[in-house]
Amino acid sequence: METKNMMKYVSILSVFAVVGMFAYLVHASKLFSYLTEDPKVCINCHTMNTQYATWQHSSHRERATCVECHLPQESLFNKLLAKSRDGFKHSYAMTFRTYEGQEISASESAQERIQANCIACHREIVSQIMANAKLYEVKDDSGQIDRKCWSCHRFVPHGRARGLNATPDNLGVKEI
């Protein structure tokens, strides 16, 4: 009888412990910040300090946040799907340190989204370019060539700085 009672308390206690630990995890990881569009969320960890700093020193900081370029904008469903998928990939890479020793670069699917967002915002300027590209630079059956905006505009908006030490003194208490 006593053991049974004790087991009951232990089990209740352990459930509380799990809930408590989980609550702490939510707090420590700033979980809810990921539901916002604040660019500072992308530097919750240090991995993207350079990307943040270069963007923050570019003209795009006045117009476009990280997610406005890097997530699909055409539908909320696709946006959330992409956010969760990228979020999982990034958390995995960060936790198991699989990114170390590699240059961070946008995946193919991310590149498609970014390109679509470039075009969406700069539609009026690039519409003729797009039309010309379709007419004269046909590469495959889809009628699209695979050059991206940044194949030429290589410094927009992140510059070519890649390593952490390429953007010294750019964050500090000013941002965090």
Binding site: S11, N44, H46, L164, P168, D169, G172, K174
Partner: protein
């Protein structure tokens, strides 16, 4: 298995990965915090090499300002200056400015600051240190603004140890741009078009420069120290209440009957324009488009993959690819030629103005000599005062011919006009005393000009050398004891002036 046992088992199984994840997250956060921490630098640290330990590139580029080391004797170049400033420090010694690195050295070496033998001798007040050293904000913070601005220049000799540097413009905790001289804030608030509190980052990229590159005077201010003793401070003050223009400041000075000095030859109650660089800049094309000083004088440069702003403050023409060419699409040579032409235009009017006003002084001197009365001379002296003020305002900041060519030439034109007004009136007075054909004596060289105005040049040099080999060395010893002396700021410095042979610091020590 019982339900409670199962629950416990599952819970523990969940806790383990959650705990591991929490540890991992905290490690990542600690890393980020460490990376984003600004290194500890003391509040108002005056030794730039201390900042340089953490901001190597900025510091190294700042130290490059030592390459701007040529002494160009402006009095030799334009002997008329000696006549214009007769009775005032600038007629003793005046060189074109060198790099930031030399600011304190040149302030100490110039004949203007004289040869004090103790803390209470010498011609200049403490205010003359104000724009020369990072130790100024530190000292003001330590003893208070009023106390700082009280007494003779030599009083602070043992405290002022480092040339203008990091601490003059940067906050030690955030590296943000900051105004360390409150008189700029007071000036801005009085002028009103940009209140100090409203300054944006882009504004700050000019305002940190405007702390010193502006017109100012030493305002006599009574104060009582903590022992109840009444004292008078000479507080650096910007005459901006009526606006930035030459006329607005002229009215300001006239309204308070301010006089910098009385001219030795013409007895004119004179004004000395310092260097209204910021004020004139704001009227030019770049200033009107809110281009900041730093945009052209501290351009972003790349070293490998690193981009930072060069702290080698210098002429933008020396690195046009990273300055002018960022905005202008033109050939460098065409650009340089155009700037050179702007300078020629200013030089032409500048020479005329100096000649006219110098002659006006000498002719006024002759009129006094012949017995002219105060009533006869009053209007003339007012014309000379205004003429010289306007001339000085227009050229004293050196860069005005480029920053705002139209404004510069406009003011020079009005200076010449005022000067000639004085001379027309003077001719009538001279004629009255039978000297209608008087010709001003020759002042075509620095030596002749100094003789004309009666300047004991060799005595000044001797006093200065005695000071440099005596009191100056005591100051350095005291600075070392106080931990203010920064060897990096002085090592290898060559003693270079317009009045004595150059020598290295090692030779100075030997002597």
């Amino acid at each position: 298995m019982k339900r409670s046992t199962l629950l416990t088992f599952v819970s523990v199984a969940a806790i383990v990965p959650i705990a591991l994840l929490a540890i991992s997250i905290n490690e990542n956060k600690a890393e980020q915090k460490e990376l984003a921490t600004v290194p500890p630098i003391k509040k108002l640290e005056s030794r730039s090499s201390e900042w340089g330990k953490h901001y190597r590139r900025q510091y190294d580029s700042y130290m490059q300002t030592r390459k701007s080391d040529k002494i160009k004797d402006m009095l030799q170049d334009s002997p008329a200056l000696v006549v214009l400033w007769a009775g005032y420090g600038f007629s003793k010694d005046y060189n074109a400015p060198r790099g930031h690195y030399y600011m304190l050295e040149d302030n100490i070496n110039t004949l203007r600051t004289g040869g004090p033998v103790d803390a209470i001798t010498g011609p200049m007040p403490t205010a003359c240190w104000t724009c020369k050293s990072t130790d100024v904000p530190r000292l003001i913070d330590k003893i208070g603004e009023m106390d700082y601005f009280t007494g003779k220049w030599a009083r602070h000799g043992s405290e002022i140890a480092n040339p203008v540097g990091c601490g003059d413009c940067h906050d030690n905790e955030t590296m943000r741009l900051t105004i360390t001289r409150d008189f700029l804030k007071r000036g801005l608030d009085a002028e009103g078009s940009l209140k100090a509190a409203d300054a944006t980052h882009q504004d700050m990229r000019s305002l940190v420069c405007a702390q010193c590159h502006s017109e100012y005077y030493f305002k006599k201010t009574e104060w009582t120290d903590k022992n109840g003793e009444k004292k008078t401070a000479g507080v650096v003050t910007f005459p901006w209440d009526n606006g930035f223009s030459a006329e607005a400041m002229e009215t300001y000075y006239d309204d308070i009957s301010f006089v910098d000095w009385t001219h030795k030859v013409s007895k004119t109650p004179m004004l000395k324009a310092q260097h209204p660089g910021y004020e004139i800049f704001k009227t030019g094309a770049h200033g009107l488009n809110n281009v900041a000083c730093a945009d052209c004088h501290m351009p972003y440069v790349r070293e490998g993959g690193v981009k930072y702003s060069s702290h080698n403050v210098s002429s933008p023409l020396e690195q046009m690819a990273s300055t002018c060419m960022n905005c202008h699409n033109e050939e460098e040579k065409a650009f340089k030629d155009r700037v050179a032409r702007k300078l020629e235009r200013k030089t032409e009017l500048n020479k005329t103005a100096m000649d006219v006003i110098a002659k006006a002084h000498l002719e006024a001197g002759k009129a006094w000599e012949l017995g002219a009365t105060e009533a006869e001379m009053k209007d003339i002296l007012q014309d000379i005062r205004h003429a010289q003020w306007r001339w000085d305002y227009s050229i004293a900041s050196h860069g005005s011919f480029f920053h705002a060519p139209e404004e510069t030439l406009r003011i020079l034109g009005s200076a010449i006009n005022k000067g000639q007004d004085a001379r027309v009136k003077l001719r009538a007075v001279l004629a009255k005393y039978n000297a209608g054909d008087f010709t001003a004596p020759d002042f075509s060289t620095k030596e002749k000009a100094q003789e004309v105005v009666g300047l004991p040049y060799q005595k000044l040099v001797d006093e200065k050398m005695t000071f440099l080999d005596g009191l100056r060395k005591e100051w350095i010893e005291q600075q070392k004891q106080k931990g203010l002396y920064d060897p990096a700021a002085w090592e290898g410095l060559v003693f270079n002036t317009s009045y004595a042979p150059a020598r290295t610091s090692a030779e100075v020590v030997k002597k």
